[in-house]
């Protein structure tokens, strides 16, 4: 399992190629890529800034990912998440899972993304024409909070 936070652009193709390289035991690769949009709720977004707590954020995410691997019998997980300034059109996150059959990989990627979007130790700021504002999880997000062990 690999968890990496980076302030440089994601090369999704290279990440996936490296992830599956040499694997002969996996029958399924499922991946999700999340992108920075140019608007939220109808308001223009010029850029995102994602803050993190070095080492702490990686360890927290890895602990959740390990639980998901066990729960869904996933062979391997790769998580690459941008931090720092991100502009519309840039990839923010890649989550990829390998499993023997497709079901566990789909389930694991969905649960991990729900965690990363709502509960992961990041602090997100949106910038637009009216300035910058820090984003807090909505009540709806919290209601969807994913329980993973």
């Amino acid at each position: 399992m690999n968890v990496r936070l980076t302030n440089t652009a994601l090369d999704v193709g290279a990440e996936l190629a490296a992830f599956v390289d040499g694997r002969t035991d996996a029958g399924a690769l499922v991946n999700f890529v999340g992108y920075c949009r140019d608007a939220t709720a109808g308001q223009p977004v010029d850029a995102l800034f994602i803050d993190h707590y070095p080492n702490f954020s990686e360890r927290q995410i890895a602990a959740i990912a390990e639980g998901i691997c066990r729960r869904f019998e996933i062979l391997d997980l790769r998580i690459v998440h941008r931090v720092g300034r991100i502009e519309p059109g840039e990839a923010i996150v890649l989550v990829a899972a390998l499993s023997v059959h497709r079901g566990p990989a789909f389930d694991g990627v969905r649960m991990l993304m729900d965690y990363l979007k709502i509960d992961a130790p990041f602090w997100k700021q949106e910038s637009g024409p009216d300035g910058a504002r820090w984003i807090e999880p909505s009540a709806e997000d919290l209601a969807r909070r994913t329980e993973v062990a």
């Binding site: 999340g34 994602i50 803050d51 993190h52 707590y53 080492n55 702490f56 360890r59 998440h81 941008r82 923010i92 996150v93 965690y115 990363l116 979007k117 709502i118 509960d119 992961a120 130790p121 990041f122 602090w123 997100k124 700021q125 820090w134 984003i135 807090e136 999880p137 997000d141």
Partner: protein, 82 residues
């Protein structure tokens, strides 16, 4: 000297700073009281957003947790996810 780390919107108070803890500030609870006296704006911001405290990268569950001058003490606003 303890290192204080500020995250998210608390970076308005700085990214990090090193500070010598007074001899009588040896628990997280005492630290919060001390900060409230010295930096009320910061203490109010932490209380208002229900910020968490981490000592040496572990979230504090017990405010009587001891702290020492070599510790890294982080102030974490509610996490927003990515």
């Amino acid at each position: 000297m303890a290192r204080f780390v500020f995250l998210g919107r608390l970076r308005a108070f700085g990214d990090s700073t090193d500070m010598v803890l007074p001899p009588d500030v040896r628990t997280v609870s005492a630290l919060l009281t001390w900060l409230g006296d010295r930096h009320p704006d910061f203490a109010d911001a932490c209380a208002g957003m229900r910020a968490q405290v981490a000592v040496n990268q572990t979230i504090v569950r017990d405010l009587l947790q001891p702290i020492a001058d070599a510790d890294e003490i982080a102030f974490l606003p509610p996490m927003s996810g990515g």
